[in-house]
Amino acid sequence: MSRLTMREAISQAMWEEMEKDPSVFILGEEVGVWGGSYAVTKGFYDHFGGERVRDTPIAETAIIGAAIGSAMTGLRPIAELMTINFAFAAMDQIVNQAAKLHYMFGGQFVLPLVIRAVGGGGRQLGATHSQTPDAVFAHFPGLKVVSPGTPADAKGLLKTAIRSNDPILFIENATMYQVRGEVPDGDYLVPIGISCIQRPGKDVTIVTYSKGLEISLKAAEELAKDGIEAEIVDLRTLRPLDMGPVIESFKKTNRAVIVEEGWKSFGVGAEIASRIYEQAFDYVDAPVVRVAQKEVPLPYNRALEQSALPQPSDVVAAVREVL
C-alpha cells in the first residue's frame, strides 16, 4: 500500500501497463513534452519516448480516430482528451465509430481502446470548460464508461481498462487530482462494471460516483453527528451499470438519495431512480431524491458557480427529506 493522490494513481496505472506491454501507448494534446496539461503524464515522454507518448495537433477527431484505427490493428492506445468538453469535437468518432464498429461488423473488429478525459466544474472555467456530461456518454451501448471516486479505484479500473478489449471512456474529475488515498502497489486490478459500498450504513442509501462520492462522504459525516448512518454506494462504472449493491442496500434502508455533479434532467440520477422503482418498488418508503447540478450553463463568477454545483449541505437536506 502507498498513500497516493488520484493523479499519482492514474499515472502509476499507465506507467505500469506501458512497462509491461509495448503495444500500450499514449496520444493526445500536450501529453509529451509538456507532461500533460494536468501533469498526469509528467515524466512519461522522457522515459518512454515520443513514439509511445505522442503529442498530437489540436485535432480531437483525429486523436480518437487514430486511436480507434490503431486499436483495430492490435495496439492498445490510451487517447487523452485534454478535457471532456473537447470530446464534443470528436463526437462522431466516439459515438458513431468507437461504440459501433465491433457490433456492426459482426464482431470482427476489436477495439482495445481507452479514452481518458477529465471533466467537472468548480474551477471558474466558464460554461464550455466546466461540464460533467458523463450521462451523455453512458447513453450509448457499445461504449463503456468508467469514473472512479478514489485513488485505489482509479488505479485498478484504469489498469483493467487498458487490458480490456472494448472501447472505454475513463472520466476523471479535475478537482479530485489531489485527493489522497491508500493504493495497493503493483498489479492491482478492479473489475469494470461492479459497484461497491464505500461507507456502510443502515438509515439511507446514497448512490453516487466520482466527485459525488467526495460530496456524499462529507454529507455522511454531518449526518452521523445526528446519529443518521448513510450507506454510500459508489457506481464506479456507469455502463455497464451494476445495480446489485444499490438494490441490496435499498432493500435494507428503503430510502435513497442519488448524488451526481452533472445536470439532473435525463441524468445518472434519473436512471438509478427508475431502476430502483423497477427493481425494488415494494421496498420504497419515500420518493427517491436526486441531488445534481442546477440546470444552467456554469457561470464564471465563483459564488454563482458554487451556487449551481451540488454541495454536501444539499445532500444532507435531501437525506432529511427522505427520512
Binding site: 500536450e30 468538453n85 470548460h129 464564471y300 465563483r302
Partner: protein
Amino acid sequence: MDNANLLDFYYQMVLIRRLEERGAELYQAGKIGGFMHLYIGQEAVSTGLIGARQPQDRVITAYRDHGVAINCGIPANEVIAELMGKATGISQGRGGSMHMADRTRNFWGGHAIVGAHLPIAAGLALGDKYAGRDGVTICMFGEGATNIGFFHEAVNLAKVWNLPVLWVCENNRYGMGTTVERASAVSEIQQKAEGYGMVHERVDGMNVLAVYDASKKAIEAVRNGSGPRMLEIMTYRFRGHSMGDPERYRKQAEVKKWEEQDPLGVLHNHLIENQVTSIEVLEEIEERANLAIQKAVEFAEASPEPGLDTLFNNIYAEEV
C-alpha cells in the same frame, strides 16, 4: 495613416500591456480565477488589424481576447470587471477572461473551444452578405487552431460561398507547448490558404504599421467582393500560454530574442526616429494608460458581485 492615429495606436498598445500586467498581479492575488491567457507581445496584431476596420466590420476571436476587447473599444473598466467576475463586467461576470463580447461594438466574442468560432465567423459573414450589408467579418485564431477540422470546414465554406471573411492567423509559433513544426503539416500557415484558393499574405506582427497596412488592403478587398482572404501574422507571446504554464518547452533565450522586437518598442522607435512626436508626449501617453488601468482596477474592485438570484438569467431568450 496620420500621426494622431499612430499615437492612438501607441496608447492602445500600452493600455493593453498595462492591463495584462495588472491582470497577472490580480490573478496571483486570487482576485481573478479560471484560465487566463495574456496578450503580451501580440499587441500590435489586434491593434493594427482592428485599427483598419470600419464600424460595420465584425470581429471574432479565441480566448486570448483582452487586447482584442480593448481595441474594439470596450473600456478597460468593463474588461477588468469581467476578469474579476463582477456584475459590471462586459459579460456580467458570466464569461470571465475567455469570454468577452460586446455586440454594440461589433465584437462577437472571445471563444474558448479552439477553432469553434471559425464556422461561426462564416455564418456572421453569411448574415451580412444575405442582407446586402457591406460589413467584413474579421476572424482571428492561433496557428494551432488551423489543425482542427473546424478551420478547414469554415474556410472552405467561406470560399465556396464567397463570404466576406478576413481570416487572420496569429502565428505565435506555439499552441500551448507544441511548436508549429510539430503540429502542422506546413509551418507556413498561409500555404493552407493556397489549398482553398484564397489570396494570402504573411505579415510582420511585431510592427503595427505593417499589420495596419496589410489589414487595410485585405479588408477593403474582401469588402469589394473579391472573396475571403487570409493573413498570417507572425508574432510571439512573451508570457506562458496561460497563467501557471511551466514553459518547459522553450528556452528563455528565445523569449529574450523576441523581446528585442517588442511591438511597443518598435512603434516607439518609429515615432521618435521619424520625428512624429517627442519622448515627452509618449511618456504622457504611457502615464495616461497607467492611470486608466489604475482607475479600472478601482472600478472593478468597487463593483458588486452578480446577485445569486440572477443565476438563471439568459439561459433562453424567451421565457420558459
